[in-house]
Symmetry: C2
Subunit: 169 residues, 2 copies
């Protein structure tokens, strides 16, 4: 299977050079492993966003484009991570409150950044997330490793910015 949902503890142990049973010295259950990966993924996301160029509002378009491209590349760098963090394909996995807090924090930071350059209300934001994750999903589904949908990111950002500018006037 391609994707995170079909990875067994045997597979996972093999990738780290251990037998499946040895993983229980580090985690009490498979769900706990998912939870640690979930939390670590959002911590990576926050850490990576922090290295982006700070906002000085000089060029809204360039800033939005850079932010979306960074997010796109983060999502397409690791399919298992993307599925765990942003899709819902892992069987019966529910993040712990601690890990969920990290995810909420990451989401709030992203919303805050996007509010500066573009999105005003929840509907605006929902449209942005749909377009950007739609591009990511198509890239994974139909051209993994390529740039067919990544190349459309500038067009999509312009489209979204134009739509919102037109909407305010």
């Amino acid at each position: 299977m391609h994707g995170l949902a079909g990875i067994s503890l045997r597979d996972l142990g093999q990738q780290v050079g251990l037998r499946a049973q040895s993983l229980y010295s580090y985690f009490p259950s498979k769900q706990a492993i998912y939870d640690a990966m979930f939390r670590q993924g959002y911590e990576q996301f926050i850490a990576e966003a922090a290295t982006d160029t700070p906002s000085d509002n000089s060029d809204v378009r360039a800033e939005a484009l850079a932010g979306v491209l960074a997010f796109f590349d983060f999502c397409t760098a690791d399919q298992a991570r993307y599925q765990l963090l942003f899709q819902r394909v892992v069987p019966d996995f529910e993040p712990s409150p601690t890990s969920m807090a990290v995810a909420v924090d990451a989401y709030a930071r992203t919303v805050g950044r996007l509010a500066v350059v573009a999105a005003a209300d929840q509907a605006d934001l929902d449209l942005w997330t749909a377009v950007v994750t739609g591009l990511v999903d198509q890239q994974w589904s139909n051209d993994p490793g390529g740039t067919r949908w990544r190349d459309l990111v500038p067009r999509a950002v312009d489209m979204l910015l134009d739509e919102q500018r037109r909407r305010r006037s």
Copy 2:
């Protein structure tokens, strides 16, 4: 598990009032069941698209909106079908040539309809598919059964049409 990937033959048999073993009177393997569902799904898709109002080009915007809404509702009506037809979450499933031909036919029809009202080249089409499937995915992931992203479809269609009109001038 939510979704198609985790459904066993026992689950599937129970939903149709049979034991898992009895399914083998109708299908030689689980993959064959997936294949039949895949083909039937695309046949439903083609049949439903055929009932839509024919294109007379009188109102491009209304026509595009109706088409996208119909597609959106088709995708959000049945999660298992959506995952099987448009996502890639089923373990090791590869459609048979016969079923794949139905899918290719359905795709060609959709492209043909969209070409009339909007998309001109492959990149245009890719942008449409990314936006529409992005809306569907967000609806399933974050508001299943609701209309939070469905309500954004008119905005998205206008946005795409405007972007393409502006691009041609």
